[in-house]
Symmetry: C2
């Protein structure tokens, strides 16, 4: 089904978590939960100060290698009539050079997530995974956009 | 970090939703939320009676073609010290032939999800996506397994 551009914008502004999948050639996709902000058709997810088990991060290597990624927003409910998901597919890149962009997105992340008062938005050299989406797909169990509007905080 | 086999078993028995990613060659990974049951090192997710936008389902085609998949369990909290995820990678197949298995898993699904009193566990010819995991990875922000034990309903 189609998702209205305004609903998508509000949902991306408000929804706190998404799952990011990056292809890995012959390996299974790299898949993990991420925080993010969206701006002008691109979703940005930082390599932040949450605990990391290895470096350099597999997600950064995978994005640099593959150049494509998929982001899924969804919400589980015991009431299945309220289920929905939204999936963004597109071109992914690792952003480390554009200082103005890194600063701006860092500020947006601090606005969206008060947790960044305690956790650093960037760990080490500021790094963003950027997904410029080319295709948006949406689904709801009801077939309508009511649960999406609700998740987006719209009447 | 390592996850204890008993915690993993209880988590898979109890946790209602996961996100499944299947590679798609040159395309971005196929990614969506799924319900599931686990048994003997395999996670089973049905093609159930929830609303479908197209047939045959892209997820079934992707699993049949790729033969590998990744499953992510995680929980978002505003309290980031409680974040965790568990990821299973392995061999995936489409199961349509083993009637005893399809029946057994259908029964397990009905036990886990009371929603299957209203929604059919199988839509059309009974079909399961089966992921036999070969690798388990786990992460928690705290570095310990307390949030995983809690999510698994263990003391």
């Amino acid at each position: 089904m189609k998702i209205d551009a305004h609903i998508l914008e509000r949902l991306l502004a408000r929804w706190p978590v998404a799952r990011l999948a990056v292809g890995s050639g012959d390996e299974p996709p790299h898949l993990l939960p991420v925080v993010f902000v969206a701006e002008a058709g691109t979703v940005y997810s930082p390599v932040d100060g949450k605990r990391k088990d290895g470096r350099p991060l597999a997600r950064v290597r995978a994005v640099a290698r593959e150049g494509r990624a998929t982001l899924l927003l969804d919400q589980y409910h015991d009431d299945w009539s309220r289920l929905w998901w939204v999936r963004l597919d597109g071109e992914a890149r690792v952003e480390r050079a554009n200082v103005a962009l890194l600063d701006h997105v860092g500020e947006r992340l601090r606005e969206k997530y008060p947790q960044y008062r305690e956790v650093a938005p960037y760990a080490g050299p500021p790094t963003l995974l950027a997904l410029q989406w080319r295709r948006v797909r949406a689904w709801s169990q009801s077939g309508g956009d009511v649960p999406l509007r609700e998740a987006a905080g719209l009447p």
